[in-house]
């Protein structure tokens, strides 16, 4: 189970280690559960060593769910490795990506 922290009106889901085929369903469930409680969600990827397509697909699903429910969904602390995977599918232009939660709050409201 991935830890979820409640901060400043956001549920921050902290993914860590390797997010691959074996545990991306878990990540997906955690993210969707938060969104189903109608929480805005930030996914913290700073502790992620590796994320594969199934992990990224889970993020996409979360983002889509958030958008159709007028919730905010963003990524924070995206590591270089994770960024490479996002960039390959040009998803870096799709997700809202912030260095940290504070940066998001400094940015003013969105979503």
């Amino acid at each position: 189970m991935y830890p979820v922290e409640e901060k400043q009106g956001f549920s921050v889901v902290c993914l860590h280690g390797e997010v691959d085929l074996s545990n991306s369903p878990e990540a997906r469930r955690t993210i969707l559960n938060c969104l189903k409680k109608l929480r805005h969600v930030m996914v913290d990827l700073s502790a992620v060593e590796y994320i594969d397509s199934s992990g990224v697909a889970s993020l996409v699903e979360g983002f889509q769910y958030a958008r159709s429910n007028n919730l905010e969904f963003g990524l924070i602390g995206v590591s270089e490795a994770a960024m490479g995977v996002l960039r390959l599918a040009r998803l870096d232009q799709v997700f809202h990506i912030y260095p940290s939660l504070d940066d998001r709050l400094g940015n003013g409201s969105r979503g």
Binding site: D20, L21, S24, P25, R28, D52, S53, S54, V56, A57, S58, V60, E61, G84, V85, R87, L88, A89, R90, L91
Partner: protein, 271 residues
Amino acid sequence: MSVNTQQQGSPVVEVRNLVTYYGTRKILDDISMNVCEGEIMVIMGGSGSGKSTLLRYMLGLHRPDEGEVRLFGRDISRLGGREWQEVRRRIGVAFQGGALFNSMTVGENVRLPLREHTRLDENTMRIMSRMKLEVVNLSGFEHLMPAQLSGGMVKRAALARALVMDPEILFFDEPSAGLDPVVAADLDKLILRIRDATRVAIVVVTHELESAFEIADRITVLDRGRILMIGTVDEVRNSDNARVRNLLSRTSEDIEVDAEDYLQRLTEGAD
């Protein structure tokens, strides 16, 4: 692209003294080479050089007569069913003709490995397959049948399928064969982009020099079943080996005649 890649991480493909026969004819003779993590290795040679055969042995489609092939450090001819399965999940292969299944749509083709090997949610699988189609610039072609695609699109769809499980080694057989130069160049760029983003090791088999020089970190030059040389693009370009030079200048080489051998070939089996 000619960075020194000798110490670029551990080898993921190792071929040791591989010797293979087709019937009684020797096809590959004492092949030894390796491919490292994050490296693009191009296996180059003319037709009949044995490059496609070498690929088939790397994929474990045949059992070596002598020598061994190791993937991720494990001798693949000694793997049990489950272990083989594990290894196969970590490799992706784009075949020369695409080898897409004609009874399925492009999207279903790309999803097939996921469907067979994972228990992911249907929705996740769909997103994953579409992401890979985006990577190869085939978004929106998901619902077409393979027969409706052009040659270049088939290759890209096959690439998407090979990538869908996020392999650690990608094998690509003749990416540019049969494509017009512009499409072939696009495919080369795509291969480089994929390597840069994912650090996947890529093994490309090709007879196209342009393509080989464009993408390779190292090149293995095969000729008549033997390795002529293994080296960086510059090393191959500047090689003074006559056969390599011939291959590069594409002059049809004056075949040196070994009189004894030649006579033997012509008269063998006749009586």
